[in-house]
């Protein structure tokens, strides 16, 4: 330090003398990573981008001279055509959308629930429970799929158990009926109204979009929830342990019951963890591949087809490389757009005027404006500010 102060020049020289070769070392140290990421990530993406706008058929190199540029033709073929390619893509998109709609909220809710259970402060042996819930997450998706193929086979464990309580289980992996269609069928609706049956999107009628996940897809949904809830539970658990108990106690003193404390105190503090879990869940759910490859290859009746599997199927099996690559990039775009949307939807908003009024201490009841009174009378649970009502918290709930 003294050296720097008295003779900055010399100090700098010494420093660069000691640190000589750092610039070179920096590049040498990062070279393997740069090379591998460049060669096996950046260049591949660029090459695939080219393939998605070319007519390459899989023979020879896609960079050779006899491969032609076809513009957005491949993208058009899977999105706006009226052929099989568009219908397959529409079907895959529908299947995966239902998968996401069910898996993301359920896995988030279940993992949060497990975390809350395990987090019970007085609980002994919580390590054992934590291990039990987490274990499915470390096993390979291939191994878990093989297990579920057995559990949900026609004469498998699940149907045996259902049979014991008098229910005839479905033929899980061979049943293409959509859950919502089954429900509609139960109340006598077997064909959609003309409006839904006629209009279509991506080669699939609206009625078919509303089919819901097929019975076969439902098994994959259950499997996804089973295998991911443990990982996400750990994320929530970490966040829960960072919450200081004082805020909880303060809310308790203010008379908030457990339900209110969860929604108003715990959950807002879990927001970063919630954000992580929802993002990871969403990104993961759009990438379903291993399970489909191992289990059903898109069958029955293409109801377990996903864009990721379709992209593989189109390129490697049908040799339609342009279309396969196009599907992969559309999938990429979907994931990016949804992630950005989610980020926007869960952003930190300035507190709304109504909410802000609720949190205001009310020291001047005489001068309270009608608006404040109205806000306080909103049948929402009492905020922390309303200390006088504390003891009546329970009664208030029981009244309606």
């Amino acid at each position: 330090m003294t050296a720097t102060a008295t003779a900055p020049r010399r100090a700098r020289n010494t420093r660069s003398g000691i640190r000589r070769g750092e610039a070179l070392a920096g590049w040498v140290f990062t070279l393997p990573v740069i090379l591998i990421l460049g060669v096996f990530l950046l260049i591949p993406v660029l090459m695939a981008l080219w393939v998605s706008v070319s007519d390459w058929t899989g023979r020879g190199s896609p960079l050779s001279a006899n491969v032609g540029f076809v513009g957005l033709q491949n993208y058009a073929a899977v999105t706006t055509g009226d052929g099989l390619a568009t219908r397959d893509f529409g079907t895959a998109l529908r299947n995966n959308t239902w998968y996401v709609i069910l898996v993301v909220p359920l896995q988030t809710a279940l993992s949060l629930f497990l975390a809350l259970l395990v987090n019970g402060a007085i609980l002994r042996g919580r390590g054992i429970f934590r291990t039990a819930f987490y274990f499915p997450s470390v096993t390979a998706s291939v191994a878990i799929t093989v297990l579920f193929l057995f559990l949900f086979s026609t004469s498998g464990v699940v149907n045996e158990i259902l049979g014991a309580i008098g229910i005839t289980g479905p033929n899980w992996f061979a049943d293409p009926r959509g859950l919502l269609h089954i429900l509609f069928g139960a109340v006598g609706i077997t064909d959609g109204p003309a409006v839904l049956a006629e209009g279509d999107f991506l080669g699939l009628s609206w009625w078919n979009w509303l089919a819901g996940p097929s019975v076969a897809m439902t098994v994959f949904i259950i499997m996804a929830i089973f295998t991911t809830s443990g990982t996400f539970m750990l994320l929530f658990l970490a966040a829960l342990q960072n919450i200081s108990p004082e805020v909880q106690e303060a809310a308790m003193v203010d008379g908030a019951n457990a339900w209110e404390r969860f929604w108003r105190v715990t959950l807002p503090q879990l927001k970063p963890a919630l954000f992580t879990v929802l993002t990871l869940g969403l990104v993961g759910c759009w990438q379903v591949f291993d399970q489909i490859y191992t289990g059903t290859r898109g069958q029955p009746a293409k109801t377990t087809l996903t864009p990721a599997y379709l992209s593989y199927d189109a390129s490697f099996l049908d040799q339609d490389w342009g279309q396969g690559a196009a599907i992969a990039f559309i999938l990429f775009a979907i994931i990016v757009v949804l992630t950005i949307f989610q980020r926007w939807a869960l952003r930190d908003r300035p507190v709304s005027a109504r909410r802000a009024r609720q949190y205001q201490l009310a020291p001047r009841p005489a001068t309270a404006s009608p608006a404040t009174v109205a806000a306080n009378q909103v049948p929402s649970p009492p905020g922390p500010a309303q200390t006088p009502a504390a003891d009546r918290g329970d009664d208030k709930e029981a009244k309606p």
């Binding site: 308790m252 290859r297 490697f316």
Partner: protein, 303 residues
Amino acid sequence: MTGMSVDQARMAAPQDPPARAQTRARRNTEKIWWQVALYALLVVISLIYIYPFLVQISTSFKTDAEATISPVSLIPQVWSTAAYERLFLRSDFPVWFANSTIVTICVTVLRVFFVSLAGYALARLQFRGRGFVFAAVIAVMAVPSVVLLIPRFLVINQLGIYDSYAGMILPLLVDAAGVFIMKNFFESIPVSVEEQARIDGAGPFRIFWSVVLPMARPALITIIILSFQGSWNELSHFIVSTQSPELTTLTKGVASLASGQLSQGRQYPLKLAAALIMTIPVAVMFFIFQKRIMNTAQGALKE
């Protein structure tokens, strides 16, 4: 939780002493009941999570017929090791296992080295373009792996390493998330340690190898776990980078078993035994480093 807190809220109300004692007694009873209910719930849920694996173990020792007739029972009526004999003596299973082992070991060893080297450089070495390299690594983390299926195949094919160990191993050698973890860790080590070594005349690699790396054990274990689990469980990359039977890995082989190769009919014991053996290495890893894994997953949140 609910029962307890409602009760505590009631406690806050002023009461005369005998009534308070009574309430306290009631509160304690309620608390115990609440704990019992919580435990019961946890035990039931744990059973749901564990039972499938127990069924898997028992079924792998059943005969084909018994697996279909009584799938639920946890103890085979007749213990049969036919599935295991078939796997090890009359199938390609040992080859698959060997391939998975080779790939996993190569990937893990090299990945740990490359990733920590880059992490150290990005954390400590001053060089032009450091910020750019780091930004690039972060950008790469955002690319979903499924999107890379076709692209990877194209490059592997172009480079002439399709259907070879090189094609299987090289693309898996680097993991952007690993670079990120190591960089964060090295930044948490006090600089003074390195300064001393530097004054003693050690070069960057020497400092990295003999001073900093030994201190990074916790982070290294994290990387080892992630990369072991990742490459052992990897499927899609091996589907697009290989085709010959001699290069089939466990994941790829077991997936083909599931869709009917090698087996006539259902043959659940065989399939489940294969899936079980495949699970054992990661399970062992999991139980050895359990504490570490739990913290790793939790630490992911803070980054």
